[in-house]
């Protein structure tokens, strides 16, 4: 399986380099379903696996190969709808950077079906890919110290929703009332890697 590159990540972890995000999601799901590992963390094109006892490198590679042997059609995914209102503080600036009107930014952002590439940054924060490439904007030079919970934001190839008030360097274009993370809920995070996401008008 030449497409799997296993690198060591400490004495109880390994990082698998994979071809793309779809492969990362499939491999992460298979490794996670095995129940054999402590953490299975998909990244953009990687999967981090950790364990508590002896290094299970052979087993990881076998499970990953098994997951990749499945034909590359995206496994059935849930679609999560996020009702959003647009009009964040950076909407006009995003429109200027993209050379279109604020209305077009909104309609383009609503038109795409996104995929949760991976989670990170904060509990429940999903990095959404698959958005309109014309809405690719750089991060802010100086991150804001406080971005309110529920803010819809974009940066680079990603869209995302801030689960709780936190600092943030993405451009803010909208807001949702949906709770993205609640430790008392099962599952605690609304989004999982591989989910499809649509923003719908509030």
């Amino acid at each position: 399986m030449s497409e799997i590159d296993l690198r060591r990540a400490g004495d109880r972890g390994a990082l698998l380099d994979l071809a793309d995000n779809g492969a990362a999601v499939r491999v992460a799901r298979r490794l996670s379903a095995s129940g054999r590992f402590l953490d299975v963390v998909p990244g953009h094109r990687t999967v981090l696996v950790t364990w508590t006892d002896d290094p299970p490198h052979e087993e990881i590679l076998a499970l990953a190969a098994e997951a990749l042997a499945v034909p590359d059609e995206r496994a059935p995914t849930r679609t999560v709808e996020i009702p959003a209102g647009y009009g964040g503080p950076d909407l006009d600036e995003v429109a200027r950077l993209c050379g279109c009107s604020a209305e077009e930014v909104v309609s383009r952002h609503l038109a795409s079906e996104y995929t949760v590439a991976f989670l990170g940054f904060a509990p429940g924060f999903g990095y959404l890919v698959g958005g309109d490439p014309r809405l690719t904007v750089p991060r802010l030079d100086v991150p804001r110290p406080r971005v309110p919970a529920g803010t819809v934001a974009i940066a680079g190839p990603y869209s995302g929703v801030y689960p709780r008030e936190s600092p943030g360097g993405w451009r803010l274009i909208g807001a949702t009332a949906v709770t993205l993370f609640d430790p008392a809920r099962t599952p605690p995070a609304l989004l999982a890697a591989g989910d499809a996401v649509r923003f719908v008008p509030e």
């Binding site: 990540a9 004495d11 953009h44 990095y127």
Partner: protein, 285 residues
Amino acid sequence: MSDITVVRAGPLTTVQDRGRPGWAHIGVAPSGAMDRDALAFGNRIVGNDPAAAALEATLVGPSLRFRVPALVALTGAESNATVSGHPAAANALVRVAPGEVLELRGLVAGVRAYICVRGGIDAEPALGSRSTDLMGGLGPPPLRDGDALRIGAEPRTPPDPQAEAPTSPPGVPVLRVVAGPREDWFAPGALEALCASTWRVDPASNRIGLRLRGPKLERVNHGELLSEGLVTGAIQVPPSGQPIVLLNDHPTTGGYPVLAAVQSDDVALTAQLGPHSALRFALSP
């Protein structure tokens, strides 16, 4: 009902247990006591379950008024603690009567002290742990003056005042590291430079990361790494070339390349390193 009133919280006192590993895929850090041996030792002395939560004090300990009789153990960094003005021994069973004040002061021989109370500190668990996660905002917020704390149920096991103290070797701590996963993003010799240098702890270090000062670790690949999962102990190198060792409250994914990672059993050696402390790394096979 409160069992303990926080008279003075100190600069950063949090509730910590063994943390919440296993949730990294949804962006949740492991958290938990930085000096896990000190927490385990304190819990043994007072007869607690190893999973019981304690208070982790940083640099300066808190002052606590007890409303109920309690058995307490003070472990980790020492602080010339007193109970109602009388010296309270470290690493031993300390009795506190109702109305008495347990007072810790500036910490010496380390920067983190643990206040373990028989029954444990009771707080609402989040994802199976009572630990405060400073980055993710999980668990109880850091203590503030005037807070009320509850003590958990009496454990079945008796206290063990003879419990053996954990030891740490004297001198500059040496942390064993495993190369990678992104050593190929660095100039030849970067790993050698990491292991040949004595590093100093930057005062901006915290439970999220230990920021180090020393020679610049040079990269050869200046591209943007796509975000990937990070282990606790990962040595991340931002464009400044000054490494950051990711600790218990670390972000679960990130895009700075990781040159090497500290072995799991050595990460806790960083727990008692204060500002400007020295440390070294050694490459393990």
